[in-house]
């Protein structure tokens, strides 16, 4: 190895912030992230990185990879997503890749992949592939294959070779049928095949160990659902279903069934008592069967935009129901009473429409100060003092590097959040400190808090803040869950106050 070559490669990697200065040997580099660097080519000495295991080159301007990369014999994970490749680089056939992501290029011919026998995970989505015939080796080890948003119209041969496949995504192609060769996919647990033109499905599909299947947005007019003992989720949305039947043996442990916009006139007799999510939105259903009460685990029921007038008394058994979408039905008064008894946490007919999220104006400050008292009533470290809260929020409003958002309903402030700009020595740049996120009690469970937070995060991104952070009362379980669900992670830091 030439020291000069390594020195130059090291400088190049440092320049692209792919390594730090502690790296003084190419053998120390096992993983490299060079995504989003506008690279048109790799450094000429790139093949010195012979210990490389994972290489991320996504979101660049690459159209070729150097043949010298074949020296990267330990490389098993390569990501060249969203580049300018029109041909698969020949060097791929010399590598021993386990995972390869080529999504978002302009590749039509992937036949050289037949030489990549070690691949377990392959993402070829969003390319211009018209055929997979002769592209997968008979002795392949593929477990996960994503071919969504290509131009495939025949998967007969492909299916016959996917004997180890577990997850397969064929959404957004031009397929018209699911062929008999599907029977070869004996380990297939997840099949996504929405947004095609499928009219016919071979019975072989129903013998597979599928747990998840998405058949939405196809041209299926008739379907007999049977078998599929392991099935947990099925989505049939937006198919022109004239005939839909189920057998008694269909999906005994089904948890989620969705048939949105299929022109159905009635519920299907699903035998599973494990159902948690049921969707029959935008059909022509006029009544709900009495036996809906057997779905005691039901968590979400979506039956909006039908012609339902009454609700059966058995719905009172749905004690786990948290979310109900039922708007757009000519509901009777007694049906509305059933809903009031059920009291789902989220119900579209109870949602206030027209809640806006906007930047606070000076005239909102008094209402915001009042709203803070709701927050401080929960947080043990603070006491309610309207004058202090008004003074604080007013000072914040007039300060630099601040953002104040309010949720408004008919002119009234019903929620708020603030963000202040801080400088983080750890990040070496600005960050945002989120505070005062609160929503009035009667406007909760309507997603107002999420909208406030989402908007604030978008503002933080626009400002280029490296991080946003917040503090929450350790006993406020709702808040802790809320932030965790939205991607915030708990730190090891504790906050200390010292009153001056």
């Amino acid at each position: 190895m030439s020291d000069l070559a390594w020195t130059k490669l090291r400088e190049w990697l440092l320049e692209h912030k792919a390594i730090d200065t502690s790296i003084d040997s190419p053998n120390m580099i096992k993983r490299l992230d060079l995504s989003g660097r506008s690279l048109q080519k790799l450094h000429e000495s790139f093949s010195l990185l012979t210990e490389l295991v994972a290489l991320n080159l996504s979101n660049n301007l690459l159209s070729m990879l150097p043949d010298s990369m074949k020296k990267l014999t330990t490389l098993s994970n390569l990501n060249i997503r969203r580049n300018h490749f029109t041909l698969l680089p020949e060097v791929l056939t010399s590598l021993h890749l386990r995972a390869l992501n080529i999504s978002g290029n302009q590749i039509e011919d992937v036949s050289i992949l037949t030489q990549c026998k070690d691949l377990r995970v392959l993402d070829l989505s969003v390319n211009v592939i018209t055929s997979m015939d002769g592209c997968i080796n008979k002795e392949n080890e593929l477990r996960v294959l994503n071919l969504s948003y290509n131009y495939l119209n025949d998967v007969n041969e492909l299916f016959s070779k996917l004997h180890s496949i577990e997850r397969l995504d064929l959404s957004g192609n031009l397929l018209t049928s699911i062929p008999h060769t599907a029977k070869a996919m004996e380990t297939l647990a997840e099949l996504k095949i929405s947004d095609n033109q499928i009219e016919s499905i071979d019975a072989a599909l129903f013998s597979l160990p599928l747990e998840i299947i998405d058949l939405s947005s196809n041209e299926i007019t008739a379907l007999d659902l049977k078998g599929l003992e392991d099935l947990e989720t099925i989505t049939l949305d937006f198919n022109p279903l004239d005939k839909l039947n189920t057998s008694d043996d269909f999906a005994p442990y089904l948890e989620s069934f969705s048939c949105d916009g299929c022109g159905l006139k009635s519920f299907l007799p699903l035998v599973s008592t494990e159902l948690k999510t049921l969707c029959y939105a935008s059909n022509d259903i006029s009544s709900i069967p009495e036996d809906i009460g057997i779905y005691e685990q039901l968590n979400e029921l979506d039956i909006d935009n039908n012609t339902i007038v009454d609700l059966p008394d058995s719905m009172a058994n749905l004690t786990q129901l948290k979310t109900l979408y039922i708007d757009g039905n000519p509901l009777s008064e007694s049906a509305k009473k059933v809903i009031n008894i059920l009291q789902p946490e989220i119900c579209d007919i109870h949602m206030k429409r027209g809640i806006t999220i906007e930047r606070a104006k000076e005239e909102d400050l008094t209402q915001m100060a009042e709203l803070l008292s709701v927050l401080f009533a929960i947080e043990q470290d603070f006491t309610i003092d309207y004058d202090k809260q008004l003074s604080g929020i007013t000072k914040l409003y007039h300060s630099k590097g601040k953002e104040l958002l309010v949720a408004k309903y008919e002119g009234e402030v019903v929620g708020m959040v603030t963000m202040q700009r801080l400088i983080s020595s750890a990040e070496g740049d600005y960050i945002g400190q989120i505070e005062d996120l609160v929503v009035k009690e009667e406007y909760r469970k309507m997603g107002v808090g999420s909208r406030l937070l989402n908007k604030m995060r978008a503002i933080a991104q626009a400002y280029g803040y490296k991080r946003i952070q917040l503090a929450a009362d350790v006993d406020n379980e709702n808040a802790l869950q809320f932030y965790t669900r939205r991607g915030f992670h708990k730190t090891h830091l504790k906050i200390y106050h010292y009153n001056t």
Binding site: N59, R82, G104, V126, V128, T130, S148, Y149, Y151, G172, L174, S194, D195, S216, S217, D237, F238, D260, G261, C279, S282, D304, Y325, D348, M351, T356, I357, M446, G447, V448, S450, R451, L453, N454, K455, M456, R457, A458, A460, Q461, R486, G487
Partner: protein, 88 residues
């Protein structure tokens, strides 16, 4: 490579005649899950623009937008429509 403003002006949904900026605005102003929020944008049950809208919705949920990704998906949809019109 398009600028952010150019991407915001790109038409993301033909049925609902919405550009990217309008779709973001709709997503920001609803509490509904994607399946329902999408209908607010498209005003139809079709799914031709679902890939781009779903990605945009996810970005909105996480408060971080990748405009190049959106541009790619919108352009891919247009290319797909062109190819289909040509009998692909």
């Amino acid at each position: 490579m398009k600028t952010k403003d150019e991407v915001l002006k790109m038409e993301i949904c033909e049925c609902g005649e919405k550009n990217v900026a309008q779709a973001i605005d709709i997503f920001q102003n609803t509490s509904l899950p994607f399946k329902k929020a999408k209908k607010l944008v498209t005003e139809c049950n079709k799914t031709c623009c679902r890939a781009a809208l779903m990605k945009l919705f996810d970005m909105q949920q996480f408060g971080k937008y990748d405009y190049d990704e959106i541009a790619l998906l919108v352009e891919k949809r247009l290319e797909r429509m062109r190819r289909l019109a040509e009998g692909a």
